[in-house]
Amino acid sequence: MRRHRISTVGAVALAVVVGWAVAAIFAPWVAPYPPSRIASREPLAMMSAAFPLGTDYLGRDMLSRILFGARYTMGIALLSTSLACLMGVGLGLTAAARGGWFDMAVSRVLDAMISVPSLLAALVVVSSLGSSIPVLVVSAAVIYTPGAYRLARAMAVNVNAMDFVAVARARGEGTLYIVAYEILPNMILPVLTDFGLRFVFVVLLLTGMSFLGLGIQPPNADLGSLVRENIEGLSYGAPAVLMPALAIATLTVAVNALIDNLPSRRVAETAR
């Protein structure tokens, strides 16, 4: 069937993802309070009409903090993922097109990089450079480049062997033309699917780092930092701990469910 239909789960997931994107973009206009204003005398309060998601350990409004936290989490993750995919696909295409020692050296080094668990790699970088937003963006991008490279290279090698590429070569087209107009359009869907999966990994990595206190530094806070700074409220069951964690979960589960229910899922599956 060639029609692009989306299942119910997929539609719900899409709505959640779009909802989070809108919330993150319009946070300054939507948030009921400025995120750093101590709006209540009661810290770690339960949900109420004035504070729909309760208050944090200083009495700040949780809903506003989560909306602004989502901005950091999604913005940084989006930037890192885009960088990772650009570098991965760029290297992968070059390796597939050039082959030889270049291909071998790049593949070996990136394979070794994959064998370092991502959180561990981020910890090592932060131990030397300290934690700041540029360091986090670049290290997350570098950590997830090998995965993107692997997929892109494998696909490019497959497409490269097809007849229409041979025809283009016979016409006398240059490498750049072949990569841009013959190979890339034929692997764009799996690359986009991979982008979504990688986005989830980056979100989990960043929030994990922030949860350890080694990610986004105060006074800025992403969703992981919000869990960390309110962790003492866990023993009272305060919503300030669970809500940011749930916020991350709804975002990541929705992105994964959306990818899983895409009409083009089979394409991506056979490519992996």
Binding site: S115, L120, S128, L204, G208, L214, V227
Partner: protein
Amino acid sequence: MNAAMLRLIGVRLLLGALTLLIVSALVFTATELLPGDVAEALLGQSATPDAVAGLRAALHLDQPSWKRFLLWLGGLLSGDPGRSLVNRLPVVALIGNRLPNSLTLAGITACVTVPLALTLGITTAMWRGSRYDRIVGMGIIGIVSVPEFLIASVAVLVFAVKLRWLPALAFRSGPQDFWAMMRLLAMPVGTLALVGIGQMARMTRAALLTVLESSYIEMARLKGAGAIRIVLVHALPNALGPIVNAVALSTSFLLGGVIIVETIFNYPGLAKLMVDAVSTRDLPLVQACAMLFCAAYLSMVLIADIVAIVSNPRLRQR
């Protein structure tokens, strides 16, 4: 065991050693990225030039970086990764204190995770597309895409705060009887097991499905063999290699999980040691812990590779 098999295993061992070498170079480079001087950063702004020069010499910072890399690598290999920059204790002693705790956690988690994950992975592949497969699949997607600290917080909230069955975040060390120990470990192990089971079951299912799609399985099906017989007798022997591989690869996710879980439950293990070392920027300790984790993970993958070679029926008779 025959010559072809031994040769393949030899190649794998060499490749494993090469990968570990590249990883050690990566870890070393990553910790060398800091612009400026570790000695100056350590001693602060008020340090005298003499003190800085002394520390530079003691840390071999006056040597070129490739020489320092070789010194460091030699130290690691001979079991002396240096001293902590923070409390001057030997890194080996710091790690030795924590290693038994981490091994206990890892051992118990493995005993819980592997059998459950394999059962889930194999049964969902067997009944692919059934309601059972879809429900388990949805649950797994939910678990693997949720941060570990959410699972851990919910566990604390339910079992420690609401039901009061288990002790909450505090982890006391000292002599304890077996049951007290199990009660303390229940939530860390449970959280890790959930994360591990999700990844492992998913990868096991995928590995088995690849085999189930091959033509000799179709042949068996055409001959009228039952679903259970096809999976257990025909598919599993050939899927053993990929499945062991899947188990080894999921330890990568477990490692990430351990770092979060040891921190949230304040468990005195290696991962907590490393996180603390990162926040105090104790580079020798961070390097040693990172290498230990990477080496552990790489040896899991290597063992899986060797199991795959040994269990491959096509290599057995020659």
